[in-house]
């Protein structure tokens, strides 16, 4: 068991040391308590003992939660080939098909994990800590990182169920039955999808981008689509053509196609993000929020967050693509609006307006502060990621002046 813990905690850097710090929190507290009590000569004073008991419980809770979180994190990262390039590359040279046991260790939970959970729970009970809290602290990072592995292995449906399901563990923690069902169902989903994820890794040749056919040929394919042509170099086989033009010097000379955000991600990321923040904020008692009826704080929060997001999108769009006429030019020529360029401002303005409007409506409806503070920026993000023009279309059809963008200055190449 000790070797198991060593394998889990020290497979990735930092996790082991941080876990040790968490582990040391409780004995550290008792030592400090003894030291203060001893030096002040109040070690056996009932008042001192009573005072310190509360702090002792808090230290135990922090320590146990910290260890549980680190164990969940370590367990997700330790043996999964998604998090280790060398391991993944090695696996890609073997007949690994996703069904055989992973050589470095199991990515799914095993009996050793049950021992750890039981031990932590038993220790937690001594300090009146709910076993559910231990389970949530462990499962949340474990399932979150598994969601990440499903996302990158092209299993986005399951990954978003996990992403959105994880906050449900604490949002519904007050419900006696539901709270135990949620982690169980989420783990079952992750467990069932794991072989598919591993099979994807087995069948994907994990290589540096320069040598990897899927990555490079995808860039070339997108470039050709962007250019509206299809270059044929040799042979008749379509795959051969793609690959034949994929590499040096073509991969150095070809422009890099601007990637549009996949639609499913553009819709589900804002939803998942909003749900994460809202469910986490729901722990804060309502009277500790700046209440909407007495304060303009929700409007300010919505506006500022939406403004930052909008400026981010504008910067991305304007990198390498300047306005054809600057502000003074517009004033001098009385061309206040250049429709072909200014269309990129529409989405940010709509996002800002929608965020403020949503805050007003939600405040009027008496929505709880956790959602009042998070849903309007979520709406803004949703609009910013989904409203046109897409980056790809903008770079090709926008009425802009091409100037060296950040990518070109960094010597990366010109995005189109």
């Amino acid at each position: 068991m000790i070797r198991w813990l060593k394998r889990v905690f020290f497979a990735r850097p930092l996790i082991g040391p941080v876990s040790l710090v968490c582990l040391a929190a409780l004995p550290g507290f008792w030592f400090v308590k003894w030291l203060f009590g001893y030096t002040a000569g109040v070690l056996n004073s009932p008042y001192y003992i009573e005072q310190m008991a509360g702090f002792g419980y808090a230290a135990a809770h922090i320590s146990l939660c910290g260890i549980s979180i680190m164990y969940g994190l370590a367990r997700a990262l330790a043996f999964h080939p998604c998090f280790d390039t060398e391991y993944r590359t090695w696996l890609a040279r073997t007949p690994f098909s996703g069904r055989q046991p992973l050589p470095a260790g199991p990515a799914h939970l095993v009996w050793q994990d049950a021992v750890v959970i039981i031990a932590l729970t038993a220790f937690g009970l001594v300090y009146s800590m709910s076993p559910y809290r231990i389970v949530v602290c462990m499962f949340a990072p474990y399932l979150f990182f598994h969601a990440g592995t499903l996302h990158v292995t092209d299993n986005k449906g399951a990954s978003y169920v996990l992403y959105c399901g994880v906050p449900c563990m604490w949002y519904f923690s007050g419900h006696e039955i539901l709270r135990w069902c949620i982690p169980t169902l989420l783990y079952l989903l992750a467990f069932i999808q794991l072989p598919r994820c591993l099979r994807f890794i087995a069948e994907y040749n994990a290589q540096p981008a320069e040598a990897s056919p899927p990555a490079v040929s995808e860039v070339i394919r997108q470039t050709n689509e962007a250019l509206g042509n299809r270059t044929t170099v040799r042979g008749t086989d379509a795959g051969e053509n793609d690959l034949a033009i994929s590499f040096w010097p073509y991969n150095r000379l070809a422009p890099i196609a601007a990637h549009d955000f996949p639609r499913i991600d553009a819709i589900l990321i804002p939803i998942a993000l909003t749900w994460w923040v809202a469910s986490s904020l729901s722990f804060i008692p309502e009277d500790e929020f700046l209440l909407p009826k007495t304060s303009i704080a929700p409007w300010i929060a919505s506006f500022v967050i939406s403004l930052v997001l909008s400026l981010g999108r504008l910067l991305k769009y304007m990198s390498g693509c300047s306005s054809p006429i600057n502000l003074f030019g517009r004033v001098a020529t009385l061309r206040w609006i250049v429709p072909g360029f200014d269309r990129i401002v529409i989405a940010p303005l709509l996002a800002l307006g929608s965020a403020v409007l949503a805050t007003t409506v939600m405040a009027a409806c008496g929505v709880s502060p956790a959602f009042l503070y998070t849903v309007p920026p979520g709406i803004a993000l949703l609009l910013l990621l989904n409203l046109g023009p897409s980056l790809h279309v903008w770079r090709l059809t926008g009425a802009h002046r091409l100037v060296p963008g950040m990518a070109s200055k960094a010597g990366i190449g010109t995005e189109i």
């Binding site: 070797r3 060593k6 394998r7 020290f10 497979a11 060398e86 391991y87 590359t89 090695w90 890609a92 040279r93 073997t94 007949p95 690994f96 098909s97 055989q100 046991p101 992973l102 050589p103 470095a104 260790g105 087995a202 069948e203 040749n205 290589q207 320069e210 040598a211 990897s212 056919p213 690959l243 034949a244 590499f247 040096w248 010097p249 150095r252």
Partner: protein, 259 residues
């Protein structure tokens, strides 16, 4: 059979392999030799499917590498590739790792356990076989890596410098003995990159010589002697073929030191 057809590979703007064409028959032991940085590891990596060449292709037993998923997985069952710096799990023991590699290659469990034990004994890892790989010395790690290639019982073995990397004399002797046995078998094909001519002499059926990314020769040791017009040891033959100016450079350097 391994077939390399019109293989071209660049790293950035540097050409590493140019129009390489090779056919290696089943059961052959082939040594890959050449100066440093001339494409030995790249050629092996391309054969192993690790690199996707810019031009040309690799065929293993009539199936092209990375053509279809089924073919590629079928090839992977037959081929084991041992790179110069292989991946090893830090916290697993050597025995655990060898067993898990054997299971990946669907070796029958009882036979696998016996084979693992024999390999640990062969490479003098009996005492360290059940300790974490991270705690082993570099030479011992190399032995574990070689054992992990041998435990697969794959009919095609691609070994990148198996005799270097801190292997002790006992390890080299053991590996050489295993290689000799593999050479006598008609069902195991071995391609190994090595810079040591003495090892090649008694082991290799044929030798591939690469220079400046081009195939200089691919022949038996005797054939290479004829090609180089040298009757001496293979070391001398290779010196002529791989580095014709080498002897001249050495004598110039020694002369300058005398002065």
């Amino acid at each position: 059979m391994i077939k390399v057809v019109d293989l071209v590979q660049h790293y950035g703007v540097r050409p590493v392999l140019r129009d390489i064409n090779i056919e290696i028959a089943e059961g052959e032991v082939v040594a890959l030799m050449g100066p440093n940085g001339m494409g030995k590891s790249t050629l092996l990596a391309a054969m192993a499917g690790v690199l996707w060449p810019q031009k040309g292709y690799i065929e293993i037993d009539g199936k092209r590498r990375r053509q279809t998923v089924d073919d590629e997985l079928a090839i992977r069952k037959k081929v084991v590739y041992l790179p110069d710096h292989p991946w090893l799990p830090k916290f697993n023991t050597a025995r655990e790792f060898l067993l898990s590699v054997g299971r990946l290659y669907s070796i029958e469990p009882t036979r696998l356990m016996e084979h693992v034990q024999r390999l640990l004994t062969l490479f003098d890892l009996d005492a360290n076989g059940d300790q974490a790989i991270d705690g082993l010395s570099n030479g011992q790690k190399k032995k574990v890596a070689i054992a992990s290639a041998l435990v697969t019982e794959a009919p095609i073995m691609l070994l990148d410098e198996p005799f270097s990397g801190g292997l002790d004399p006992a390890g080299m002797f053991a590996l050489k003995a295993v290689m000799k046995q593999l050479r006598d078998r008609s069902d195991v094909t071995v391609v190994m990159a090595t810079p040591v001519p003495e090892i090649v002499e008694g082991l290799a059926d044929r030798v591939i010589i690469l220079r400046n990314g081009e195939l200089v020769a691919f022949d038996t040791p005797d054939g290479l002697r004829k090609l180089a017009n040298v009757t001496g040891p293979l070391e001398e033959v290779l010196e002529h073929l791989i580095d014709p100016k080498g002897a001249e450079n050495i004598s110039q350097y020694l002369e300058s030191r005398k002065k």
